[in-house]
Point group: C2
Chain length 281, copies 2
């Protein structure tokens, strides 16, 4: 996400100078090799040398828990604008409000984009084009900062919408976090079935068609990032998954009744309607 953002900023000429911070030496070498920013630092060097004030705009592109830790380190003297690309908001907003008891320049962003691949080598300069970016404002945010960040995402080709932290985390539990768990559950459940294993081993090409492939795509994503997402949105994910289980039990009852021959056609038609509503088709 961060690498793609650097590429997009340079493509749209939104900054004179872009610096990439990375967490370890290997990534540093890879990032320099790929050259998606003008300059690179190890995060530890940046912090040691206290380079914050060299920059007028800083974006945290990190798992949510690490983003919260970085927020606590922002020096009082820093006057630039700050944002992040975090997938959950309650904890980030709490961290910002704890950090700043005065007016500040931090607004949280959540671009609804990405892929199952993480790492600098998958960076794409058009990742943000035509995408939605959710903005969440902490208390005591300066109004002009919100406008600047809206303009920033707008210039990158993203649409913005404001959603408060609580609502963001509930909506995202349904549209992203719990589906991620369900996708992982799906491959675990199918992948451990003895017959699936047996015939899949015998077949030269994978035994599965496109539907299962699509549904399991996100089960391949960055486990570290997803652990942080689950940890920072436990209650909404738990609530939504419990509701999912109840709805699944209702379907199991349909099988147990063994009647209702027209049930499934109607159910699938209605599902198609919900899908069309969600995707504005």
């Amino acid at each position: 996400m961060g690498g793609s953002l650097a590429l997009a900023i340079r493509k749209k000429k939104l900054a004179y100078h872009v610096t990439g911070l990375v967490r370890n030496e290997n990534t540093l070498q890879e990032a320099i090799h790929l050259g998606f920013a003008d300059e690179f630092y190890l995060e530890s060097d940046f912090l040691k040398k206290d380079l914050w004030n060299k920059y007028d705009f800083i974006v945290f592109s990190l798992p949510v828990d690490l983003t919260c830790k970085k927020i606590s380190l922002i020096p009082d003297s820093y006057t630039g604008i700050l944002t992040d690309l975090g997938s959950t908001k309650r904890e980030i907003i709490q961290a910002v409000e704890n950090r700043f008891t005065r007016e500040h320049n931090y607004i949280s962003s959540h671009p609804m984009t990405g892929s199952e691949n993480s790492g600098a080598k998958y960076a794409k300069e058009d990742l943000y084009e035509g995408k939605l970016c959710i903005l969440t404002s902490p208390k005591r945010l300066k109004t002009e900062v919100k406008e600047k960040i809206q303009t920033f995402w707008d210039k990158l080709g993203s649409q913005t919408i404001e959603i408060p932290a609580e609502d963001h985390d509930e909506v995202l539990a349904y549209l992203s976090h719990s589906p991620h768990i369900i996708s992982s559950l799906l491959v675990t459940w199918a992948g451990t079935n003895p017959k699936v294993k047996e015939y899949n081993q015998r077949s030269k090409i994978p035994l599965s068609g496109g539907g299962f492939r699509d549904m399991s795509r996100i089960a391949g994503s960055n486990p570290e990032m997803w652990e942080a997402i689950i940890h920072t949105n436990k209650s909404d994910i738990y609530k939504s998954l419990k509701e999912f289980k109840i709805k699944l039990e209702e379907l199991l009852e349909i099988f147990e009744k063994d009647g209702n021959s027209n049930f499934w056609k109607k159910y699938f038609e209605k599902a198609r309607d919900y899908r069309n509503q969600i995707f504005k088709l």
Copy 2:
């Protein structure tokens, strides 16, 4: 599926003459307009005029329940080869074995391909290229017919694998049928959440990212076909969904314990492994 097969057969020059049968007048006009076969009939006309023996190869591309009905209508005098593209096998194989108490030319096919769109206008001549086609043999099948059908799929670019009806239906419950229900459940569950509805209406572009979009793609597929699939594979689908529910309950317990901070990272890593195994990555 049938339209794409006609296109593929003509592209690969596997037949001198391809006739398309359709179920109603509207589809007939559309099929003639698209022209993917040399000639078209209404199915009812074909049956009334008893044209079976004009053809040396017949493929049923219909929902499974209708395929079974057609199998019961195959005349004793018919000497050509027969197959279908059915998604479940137990009932089709039963219908074939009921129909033929002597040696016969019917072997069932299940090409693992398709899309969420059905209908002649979505036909694609390369739909079968590089795909897997599962073959299921009924009792009393002539050996040379199996070889001919293997060659047929081979020439269309598909790999074949033989799986008996019982195993086919269990494996497909896991890799296709139950995932289809889970995908439909997913859009129903998310699409009825009030906050999801509210913010999705407010947003100019859909509130969901690519993961949810992928997972819900198949929820848009042909409801009639899917009803027939559910009806003809009830027991395996029920069994597999019940197991899915139990595995979901185990995850809900992790949330209830609220500990095990390292659980999710390991769970997602393991899920990625299962996914890689299934897709031979």
